[in-house]
């Protein structure tokens, strides 16, 4: 099959999120506008004036991880391995069949095994560097987030890559899976992102004044910042031919994506550069701005992000479509964020609704968008744009579409 005619579809979703583990619970969560906020308990928060976050408190690794030894995996790798197993099961693909295929596993992350690195730092301060635990050290390398997936699934003919491109990493991982399938390089791709709440990232964001005291309120006039979250989203992707051949239900088609870099500021986003990335993604996917039914925004709930991001959207769209942020519900899950958002987009397409932006009172006039406040909206969703921005000026925009028989959407 030629490159141009090879279409890529999503047939399986695996979700570990603060508002539910598994696709069904996650879907209920984003449909009913559930909030995952609670007090952070994974590290000692004494000394911080406020410490809310979106942790997952009902994840038991042994319930999900069957083949790997959970103790050989850090928390983020447990999330990615569990989500990958769920995605394969959700796609109705027997593990033996996946093992017969050539596979790409790509996992985006911001912090890698940050929880273990926190633990190692504390141990080192306490007892000295010579007393670090070898097993914890070995599992703390970033590469483990993807190689843990192949271990859990027992894959052999597989390329496993971790993509630590911070908070845009999930879209990066999905994008490279799309490229690999379209080029006929692999026969299945398991792609997404994973991160665990950690002290390092919380204290960094707290120090620069971007942690919200109570709730995350993207695009709200009174927004106070982000809440750090955790989890993993993994997508099983295959070619249309493969999905149709095995009679698999299709969530959505991956139409294209774009990446670019501001190359300007280490942390502040740039409006023009993001607008360029959005336009590039449209071109790559072969769509026009008017085709987009809603935008799943990066929408962190900081002024710097929300004003810049909506500004970039206004630059590309004559009339911006509804623009929502699931971070209002699940917090900022860092490298998992755009992967979980992509899973939400796929569900929105299949189920015909737009997820809400919760905790919303008054829209910031500087943002000037319809953020689908507080309650999900029924809608015929054909094309969705999933934005992701990261430290270092890294932008990644993914375009998903409803799968239609015949010509591409």
């Amino acid at each position: 099959m030629s490159r141009d005619s090879r279409r890529v579809v999503i047939t399986g979703l695996g979700v570990v999120s603060p508002i539910g583990i598994g696709v069904t619970r996650f879907l209920t969560g984003i449909r009913t506008g559930r909030s995952g906020v609670k007090k952070i308990t994974s590290f000692d928060t004494s000394g911080f004036q406020h410490a809310n976050g979106c942790e997952i408190d009902d994840f038991v690794a042994a319930d999900w991880i069957r083949r790997a030894d959970p103790d050989d995996l850090g928390r983020a790798s447990q999330f990615s391995a569990a989500a990958a197993r769920m995605a394969v099961a959700d796609a109705g693909m027997p593990a033996e069949e996946l093992r017969r295929r050539r596979v790409l596993v790509s996992v985006g992350t911001t912090d890698g095994e940050s929880r273990d690195l926190d633990t190692l730092t504390a141990r080192q301060l306490d007892a000295g560097a010579e007393k670090l635990d070898g097993r914890t050290v070995r599992r703390s390398a970033a590469g483990r987030l993807s190689s843990g997936v192949i271990r859990e699934l027992g894959l052999t003919d597989v390329e496993a890559v971790t993509i630590p491109t911070a908070c845009a990493a999930g879209n990066y991982a999905i994008g490279t899976g799309f490229d690999a399938l379209r080029a006929g390089e692999v026969e299945a791709a398991l792609c997404g992102g994973a991160d665990a709440v950690c002290r390092k990232t919380f204290s960094g964001f707290y120090r620069i004044g971007t942690i919200a005291p109570v709730a995350c309120q993207p695009f709200d006039r009174d927004r106070k910042g982000i809440l750090t979250g955790e989890g993993a989203g993994m997508l099983l992707m295959e070619t249309l031919e493969s999905a149709v051949g095995r009679g698999a239900p299709i969530y959505a088609e991956v139409l294209g994506y774009a990446l670019n870099c501001d190359a300007l500021h280490p942390v502040a986003p740039d409006l023009d550069s993001l607008a360029r990335c959005i336009a590039l993604a449209h071109r790559h996917a072969g769509i026009k701005p008017a085709d987009v039914d809603f935008i799943s925004a990066h929408g962190t709930g900081t002024r710097a992000n929300d004003v810049t991001e909506t500004g970039a959207i206004s630059k590309v769209f004559t009339q911006p479509p509804p623009t929502i942020s699931i971070k209002s519900m699940i917090g900022h899950t860092m490298g998992a964020a755009s992967a979980l958002a992509a899973a939400a987009c796929a569900l929105a397409i299949r189920e015909g609704f737009i997820p809400p932006t919760i905790n919303h009172n008054v829209t910031d006039p500087q943002c000037g968008i319809d953020c689908v406040p507080n309650e999900a909206r029924s809608a015929d969703v054909n094309i969705v744009q999933n934005n992701a921005l990261a430290f270092a000026g890294n932008n990644a925009v993914l375009i998903l579409g409803r799968y239609r028989n015949g010509t591409p959407a």
Binding site: L117, T121, L125, A129, L132, G134, A183, R207
Partner: protein, 373 residues
């Protein structure tokens, strides 16, 4: 689409740039030296440092106050490649991507940042200027800012296989139409923190090889792009391939399968491989790697070039150095029989990988990658 490597450079224990690396590996002299134990306490007394490297020394004081060693090495490596290629060719562009391999970013910066939260009077008494250093995509981002590289900017990680994974990722970017050129490679810094983590990570009983720092960077593009810019290709990438194993005793079989698959997809006969650059780790996995290559290449006995005994263990930068050593030791008269080189790796966490390159005929070691020098 066939992709070519049309320039390369390295920062290594032999110093800055391609010439220093080439002269070093050709001399067979070790780049590992005795560490200044005041500056570098920790479990090792020797290491392969980039000699005399300091961030401010290389890049000046302006804009480098909060730049850590890893980012400094990365920015310098990119500068080195651009200088040796003709800088204006690829900077200030939306069409150039950067794919940089890392182990786990700067573990020194990350753990220092967290330590400040533990030891400060308040847990948020951390230095905000250092926060970005505690995020793994910092070096790639710094390279982009410094050299105005506005195309896709990606960081990849995968243990010893990192450099090959970066090559494979960059190939997908190019084939997917996301950029016209990609700068691709991997970097590691030497730090006391990395030294401790590496020391604890190694299996008991394995002789701890000294650590190396630095990295190598390649300019990858389609042949017609190279031709249009009048850059003479130094090599063609024929294949990259990866596989995985569960138990260490399967590494030999799985790597042999992996190399065989790469040869088959490239349409290269096993006996055509002229030179092999293995990871060459100490202990059982290193022996398995050697046997796997012998299995896959049948009875032939290609030349073997090893950089680990010369540089030390470069961790996530290892495979990038292995590619560089292939390019650096290509025969200077260019009279290859086939010019086909094989890079192999075995990571202890169950990943194997390989790349097949065809070195271009013609001088690759003494002349610049650019025809007009």
């Amino acid at each position: 689409m066939t992709l070519t490597l049309s320039a390369w450079s390295a920062l290594s224990p032999y110093g800055l740039g391609r010439e220093a690396f080439t002269a070093g590996v050709r001399s067979g002299r070790s780049g590992v030296t005795v560490l200044d134990r005041e500056a570098y306490p920790g479990p090792f007394d020797r290491a392969g440092l980039v000699p005399g490297f300091t961030v401010a020394g290389q890049l000046g004081r302006k804009g480098t106050r909060s730049m850590d060693r890893l980012s400094g090495l990365a920015v310098t490596l990119v500068r080195q490649l651009l200088d040796e290629t003709g800088a204006d060719a690829v900077t200030d562009s939306d069409e150039v991507g950067l794919v940089l391999g890392t182990g786990s970013g700067s573990v020194q910066s990350i753990m220092d940042f967290t330590a400040a939260s533990f030891t400060g009077k308040k847990p948020y008494h951390v230095d905000p200027a250092l926060f970005p250093n505690a995020v793994m995509n910092r070096p790639a981002g710094q390279c982009a800012i410094w050299h105005r590289i506005r195309g896709p900017n990606a960081t990849v990680a995968g243990g010893a296989a990192t450099g090959l994974l970066a090559l494979s990722y960059a190939a997908r970017l190019l084939r997917g139409g996301h950029c016209r050129q990609a700068l691709v490679g991997a970097v590691e810094e030497y730090s006391v923190q990395r030294a401790w983590l590496e020391w604890h990570a190694r299996s008991a009983g394995v002789d701890p090889a000294p650590l190396a720092e630095g990295g190598a960077l390649l300019l990858m593009e389609a042949p017609d792009e190279a031709h249009r810019a009048d850059r003479a290709p130094v090599a063609t990438v024929l294949a990259t391939r990866f596989m995985a194993f569960d138990e260490p005793d399967q590494a030999r079989q799985v790597l042999a399968n992996c190399v065989t698959a790469a040869l088959r997809s490239a349409g290269v006969a096993p006996e055509a491989v002229e030179v092999v650059a293995p990871l060459g780790a100490e202990g059982e996995l290193g022996r398995q790697e050697e046997r796997a290559t012998a299995d896959a290449l049948g009875g032939s006995t290609p030349r073997v070039v090893r950089c680990r005994p010369l540089l030390g263990d470069a961790s996530a930068a290892s495979a990038a150095f292995q590619i560089a050593v292939l390019l650096a030791t290509a025969r200077p008269d260019g009279r290859h029989d086939t010019g086909i080189g094989l890079v192999t790796t075995v990571d202890p966490h169950g990943v194997v990988g390989c790349a097949l390159l065809r070195m271009a005929p013609g001088p690759t070691s003494t002349a610049s990658g650019s025809r007009d020098g």
